[in-house]
Amino acid sequence: MAKPTDLVQGTLDLLILKTVSLEPKHGWAIAKRIQQISGEVLQVQQGSLYPALHRLEQKAWIKAKWMESETGRRAKFYSLTAAGRAQLEKEADNWNRLSAAINLVVQT
C-alpha cells in the first residue's frame, strides 16, 4: 500500500504549515484546502494528515485548540506558532531552491 505521503515525505509538513499559516483550521479543512489549491493534483490520503499534524504539534511548530466549528460541533483547530513560522520560511526556501533546480534540469 503505497501512501501518497511517501511520495511527498517532508513536503507534507510544508503543505500543512503553509495551509494553517493564514488562519486556524481543523484537520478536514486542511485536507480539503490542500486538494482545492493544488487543483486536485495532490491526492493526500486524508488519514495520513493526522500523524503528521501530531508530529508537528510535538515539535511545537503548530499548536492546537478545541473550538466550535462552523457546524457547531467541537473540533481541533491547528494554528502556526512562531517557531512554525520560522520553519515554514526555511522549508519554503528549500522547496523553492529544489524546484528551481529541478526545473532547470528538466527544461534544458
Binding site: K3, Q58, A60
Partner: protein
C-alpha cells in the same frame, strides 16, 4: 521553550493516555463526519457517503497507531508489555527460572561480596566529617639519591611537612602523622602494648574530629621538641582500660616509661586513619620520648610522616598538584639528582601509593577470579536460554512471519534475561548485604594473634550498589544477547512446520553455540580449578614444610631492653643474666639460648659487608646468637665450630656463615679463616659453616646469611629461646612469671616457637580457602551446565536415537555417541584452560610461598578431576538415552 512544551506533551500523553486516545478518536470522527456530510451534499446515499469517506481516509486503526507513536511513549508501553510477558513466561517455567536465578545470584553475590571488601579496604572515604575534602599526599622519587626510610618510601620528613604546610595555598589545613609507630607499652598494673600515632597538633582540627571529652592538641603542644607530653585516648581504650572515668583528664599515664598527661578522649568510633585501630595520639614533637632510639624531628632527609590535607573550597586536584609541585621542586634543589612527583588522591584507608599498588594488585586478581565464576554462571544461563529458545522456536517463528520485527523480538527476549539477571542480582546481593558484616567480623576476629587487629567497614554503600547494578545489567545482556540473536535467526518455514531440529545429523539447532558455551565454561573452570589446586598444594606444603630446624618444645620470650624501656647497657646485661638463670632453673627446662631475631619471627636484620678479595660490598642478612643456638635448633655445623664462650664474652669479631653463603662467596674454597670487613674496615673472621635452614623466610634458605656472637654489647636487643620437656603452657607461664618478678613493667611476650609458622601460613591459608571456595562454585556451576546441556541434547534427539536403535545400534553405541558429543567441547575448552593457566601460574608462584609454577599434581590431577565431573554430569542423561525403548522413542514428538 519548545523543549518544555515537548516534555509537557510527552508527560500528558503518558499520564493521560485515555484522554489523549479519546481526543484522537474524536478528532478523526469529526473528520469523517465532515467528509460524509460533504459526500451526502454531493448526492450520495448515506452508506455510499460513509464508504467513500472511509476510503478517502485510509485505515483509521493503523493511522491512529502511527499518530500515537508520534506522542513518544510507545516504547515505554512496549517495555511494560515485555516485562509483563517476561514475568508471565518465567512464572510458567519455575524450574528454569529458579535454576537461572540461582546461578546468577551465586555469581553476582560472590562478586558483590568481594567488591564490598575491596570497597571497605580501599575505596571508602575516611570516616571523618566532610571526608570528600580530604586528600592524601605522598611522594614518588626519581633519580639517584640517598634517603632514609622509616616505613614507606613516599613519607615526608618533619621539615618537609612544615614546608608544605606553611607554603601551600590550596589546603585549609595539612596534617601529618607517623603511621608506623607500632606498639608502645602502656605502664601500670599490667603493662599492655598499644597501637599509637604521633600526629601534628592540627591533626584533629583538620579532620574536624571533636573530642568526646577534654580537648585535642593545640599549636603550643607542638611548639618545640619535647614540650607537649600530652595524650588523647581513643574512646575504646578509655572505656576498656580506664572504666570510662571522666576523672582521667589531667592524670598522667606512662607510655614507654615517659609520663603523658591525658588531655582528651576522642569521639566514639574514631580509630585513626589506618585499617588498624589506633588507641592513643601524642604530638609529633614527642617522637623521641616514645622512640628514644631515634630522633626523627631534625632529620630532614628521613621519610616517616604521612600527609593529609583538607582542600580549600573550590580548589581542584590539578591546582593542588601544581601548587605543591612548586614546593617539591624547591625542596629537590637541596638534593642534586633527585626529582619528586607528588601523588594526590582522595583520602581513603590504605591510600598511599605503595599500599594502593599492593591493594589494587591483589584486588584485581581476586576480582578477576570472581569475575570468572560469574562468567561460568552466565554461560550456564545462556545455555538454559538457548535450550528454551529452541522450545519456543515455533512461537518466535510465528511472530516473525506475521511481521514482528526482529529487533522487537530480540528486545523482548533481552527483557526476559534482564528480568532473570535482576531477580538473581537482587537475591545474591541481598544475601551478601545481609551477611557480609557478620562474615567480616568473624574472619577478622579469627586471624592469628600475631596479625595486627584490623577495623574494616565492609557495609555496602553507593559504590557497592552501583557496582552491583551495573554488573547485573551487564550480566543480563551477556547471557541474554547471544541466545536472543540466535533464536531470531532461523529458517521460518521449517520452524513453523514444527520440525524443530534434531532430526538426524543436524544436532539440535544452536548446537555449535551451545558447545562453545560449554567449552568456555570448561576453560574458565579449568583455570580457576588449577589455580585453586596450585594454591591448595601451596597450603599443603606450608603446613607440612620442614623449615630445617627444630621448633617442637621450644618457647620464645620476646622483649625489648632498649633505652626505650629505660634500660641502659648495664641494666640490660644484669636483666638478661638473671632472667636466663631464673629460666634455666625452671622445672623441665633444658637450656635457654639468646638470639636477636627469632627464627621465622618476621624480623629481618641486614648489613653490608665486603668479602676478602673483593672491593664491592654485599648485602647480608644476619642474626646475633649465643653459642648453643645451633645445637638447640638442631642445625649441625658442616665445617668448623660455633662460637666459644670466650669469643662471646669478648664481643669477638667472628662469624658463622651458612653453607650456601660459603659456596657463593668462595666456591670450591675453604671458608674457614676467610674474612669479611664492614664499613669501618673492621675484619670479621669465619669460624664455622652451619647447615642451611629456613630461619628467616619460610621456603627460602639461599640468601647470604651469617651469625654473630651474642656478646655483652648486644644484651639490650637479645631475646630468649627456651627448650623444655615440660608442657608448653606450663613453661610459657613459668617464663612469664620469671620475667614479671624481675621487672613488672616490662612487656614480655612468650609463645611457642611453632606459632611463628602461623604468620607464614595465614596468607596462603586465606588464599587457598578463598580459591578453593571459588573453584568449588565454578565446578558446581560448570557441571550443572554440562548436565543441563547434555540432558537437553538427549531430549531433543530422542527420535534420532530411536531410529538408530531401530536400525541396530545398541545401548552402548548410543551412550558412546552421547558421551562423545558431550565431552568433546569439555576437552577442547579444558585444554585451552590448561594453556591459559600455565601462563597465570608463574605469577602465582612468584607471589605465594610454596606454589610451584608447574606443579604436576595440580596440572594432571585437576584436569582429570574436571573430566571425571563432566563425565559424571553427562553419564546420567547418556544412560537415560541408552535405555530408551526404540518404539517409544520413534513415537516421541
Amino acid at each position: 521553550m519548545s523543549g518544555v512544551r515537548r516534555l509537557w506533551f510527552w508527560l500528558r500523553a503518558l499520564f493521560d493516555r485515555n484522554r489523549s486516545n479519546r481526543l484522537l478518536d474524536d478528532e478523526i470522527q469529526f473528520h469523517l463526519e465532515q467528509q460524509i456530510a460533504e459526500n451526502i451534499a454531493r448526492g450520495m446515499t448515506g452508506n455510499e457517503a460513509r464508504y467513500a469517506a472511509m476510503r478517502a481516509f485510509g485505515n483509521p486503526t493503523a493511522l491512529k497507531e502511527e499518530t500515537r507513536e508520534s506522542w513518544g511513549w510507545t516504547w515505554l508501553e512496549q517495555i511494560a508489555q515485555d516485562l509483563r510477558y517476561g514475568a508471565r513466561t518465567l512464572a510458567k517455567n519455575p524450574g528454569f527460572t529458579i535454576t537461572a536465578v540461582l546461578a546468577v545470584a551465586l555469581g553476582i553475590g560472590v562478586n558483590t561480596g568481594i567488591f564490598s571488601v575491596l570497597n571497605g579496604v580501599a575505596l571508602k572515604l575516611l570516616p571523618v566529617p566532610a571526608a570528600d575534602q580530604m586528600v592524601s599526599v605522598d611522594q614518588i622519587f626519581h633519580g639517584k639519591f640517598r634517603r632514609n626510610l622509616h616505613g614507606e618510601s613516599g613519607l615526608f620528613s618533619y621539615s618537609e611537612y612544615k614546608d608544605y604546610r606553611e607554603n601551600n595555598r590550596v589546603f585549609s589545613g595539612l596534617l601529618a602523622y607517623a603511621p608506623f609507630l607500632g606498639e608502645v607499652p602502656l605502664g601500670g598494673e599490667s603493662p599492655k602494648p598499644l597501637m599509637g600515632a604521633e600526629t601534628s597538633c592540627d591533626f584533629f582540627d583538620v579532620l574536624r574530629e571533636r573530642p568526646a571529652l577534654g580537648r585535642v592538641f593545640v599549636e603550643a603542644d607542638c611548639s618545640a621538641p619535647g614540650v607537649g607530653p600530652v595524650v588523647v585516648l581513643s574512646d575504646e581504650l578509655w572505656r576498656s582500660r580506664f572504666a570510662a572515668a571522666p576523672q582521667i583528664l589531667g592524670t598522667s599515664i606512662s607510655l614507654n616509661r615517659t609520663r603523658f598527661v591525658v588531655i582528651g578522649v576522642a569521639a566514639p568510633g574514631f580509630r585513626g586513619l589506618d585499617p588498624w585501630p589506633i588507641e592513643f595520639w601524642v604530638p609529633v614533637t614527642m617522637q623521641k620520648a616514645l622512640e628514644p632510639d631515634s630522633d626523627l624531628l631534625p632529620e630532614d632527609n628521613t621519610g616517616w610522616l604521612a600527609l593529609l590535607g583538607r582542600i580549600r573550597p573550590g580548589v581542584s586536584l590539578g591546582e593542588i598538584r601544581a601548587n605543591l609541585g612548586v614546593i617539591a621542586g624547591r625542596i629537590d634543589q637541596q638534593y642534586p639528582g633527585r626529582t619528586t612527583t607528588l601523588a594526590i588522591h582522595r583520602a581513603t584507608f590504605l591510600g598511599r601509593s605503595e599500599e594502593r599498588t599492593v591493594v589494587f594488585g591483589i584486588g584485581s586478581v581476586v576480582l578477576a577470579a570472581v569475575g570468572l565464576v560469574l562468567l561460568i554462571a552466565c554461560a550456564n544461563v545462556a545455555n538454559l536460554l538457548l535450550a528454551r529458545a529452541s522450545a519456543r522456536q515455533k512461537e518466535i517463528a510465528i511472530r516473525l512471519s506475521i511481521g514482528g520485527s526482529r529487533w522487537r523480538i530480540v528486545r523482548q527476549l533481552l527483557t526476559e534475561s534482564l528480568l532473570i539477571a535482576f531477580l538473581g542480582g537482587t537475591l545474591g546481593s541481598m544475601v551478601v548485604f545481609w551477611s557480609i558484616e557478620g562474615i567480616a567480623r568473624y574472619l577478622l576476629t579469627h586471624l592469628p594473634h600475631d596479625v595486627p587487629r584490623l577495623v574494616w567497614d565492609v557495609s555496602p554503600d553507593p559504590h557497592v550498589w552501583g557496582y552491583t547494578l551495573v554488573l547485573t545489567a551487564l550480566t543480563g545482556i551477556v547471557f541474554g544477547l547471544a541466545p536472543a540473536l540466535h533464536a531470531t535467526r532461523q529458517d521460518l518455514s521449517t520452524a513453523v512446520k514444527g520440525d524443530s531440529a534434531g532430526f538426524l545429523g543436524k544436532a539440535a539447532s544452536g548446537g555449535m553455540l551451545r558447545s562453545t558455551l560449554v567449552g568456555v565454561q570448561a576453560a574458565v573452570c579449568m583455570v580457576l580449578l588449577i589455580a585453586a589446586g596450585l594454591l591448595m598444594r601451596g597450603l599443603y606444603l606450608t603446613q607440612t614444610v620442614d623449615p630445617g630446624f627444630e621448633m617442637k618444645g621450644i618457647a620464645q620470650a620476646r622483649f625489648d631492653l632498649s633505652s626505650a624501656q629505660g634500660y641502659n647497657a648495664a641494666h640490660a646485661q644484669a636483666f638478661q643474666r638473671e632472667f636466663i638463670a631464673h629460666v634455666e632453673a625452671l622445672p623441665g627446662v633444658d637450656e635457654a639460648e639468646q638470639a636477636r631475631a627469632m627464627p621465622l619471627g618476621n624480623q629481618f636484620l641486614g648489613t653490608e659487608l665486603t668479602p676478602s678479595g673483593e672491593t664491592e660490598s654485599r648485602q647480608f642478612e644476619f642474626n646475633v646468637v649465643s653459642p648453643g643456638f645451633f645445637a638447640m635448633l638442631g642445625m649441625p655445623m658442616v665445617r668448623g665450630r660455633t662460637f666459644t664462650q670466650v669469643e662471646t664474652m669478648a664481643d669477638a669479631a667472628v662469624l658463622v656463615v651458612t653453607e650456601s653463603t660459603a659456596r657463593r662467596l668462595w666456591p670450591g674454597g675453604d671458608p674457614i679463616g676467610k674474612t669479611l670487613r664492614d664499613g669501618e674496615k673492621k675484619e670479621y673472621q669465619i669460624v664455622g659453616v652451619v647447615k642451611e635452614s629456613q630461619v628467616s623466610h619460610l621456603g627460602h634458605s639461599d640468601g647470604l646469611f651469617l651469625y654473630m656472637p651474642a656478646g655483652p654489647k648486644e644484651q639490650g636487643v637479645l631475646q630468649l629461646l627456651v627448650r623444655s620437656n615440660n608442657s608448653d603452657v606450663a613453661t610459657i607461664n613459668a617464663i612469664r612469671e620469671a620475667a614479671r618478678v624481675l621487672d613488672p613493667d616490662l612487656i614480655v611476650e612468650v609463645t611457642r616457637l611453632e606459632d611463628n609458622l602461623e604468620l607464614w601460613r595465614t596468607p596462603s591459608r586465606i588464599v587457598a580457602v578463598l580459591s578453593g571456595v571459588l573453584g568449588a562454585l565454578a565446578l558446581l556451576l560448570a557441571s550443572s551446565g554440562v548436565h543441563g546441556v547434555v540432558s537437553y541434547g538427549v531430549s531433543q534427539r530422542i527420535r534420532e536415537i530411536g531410529i538408530r536403535m531401530a536400525l541396530g545400534a545398541d545401548g552402548h553405541d548410543v551412550m558412546r555417541l552421547v558421551l562423545r558429543q558431550a565431552l568433546r567441547p569439555v576437552v577442547v575448552g579444558g585444554v585451552i584452560g590448561i594453556i591459559g593457566c600455565a601462563a597465570v601460574s608463574q605469577v602465582l608462584s612468584d607471589v605465594l610461598y610454596g606454589v610451584g609454577a608447574h606443579d604436576p599434581i595440580a596440572f594432571f590431577g585437576v584436569p582429570l578431576f574436571l573430566l571425571a565431573m563432566a563425565f559424571l554430569a553427562s553419564y546420567v542423561p547418556a544412560r537415560r538415552a541408552s535405555r530408551l525403548d526404540p518404539i517409544e522413542a520413534l513415537r516421541h514428538e
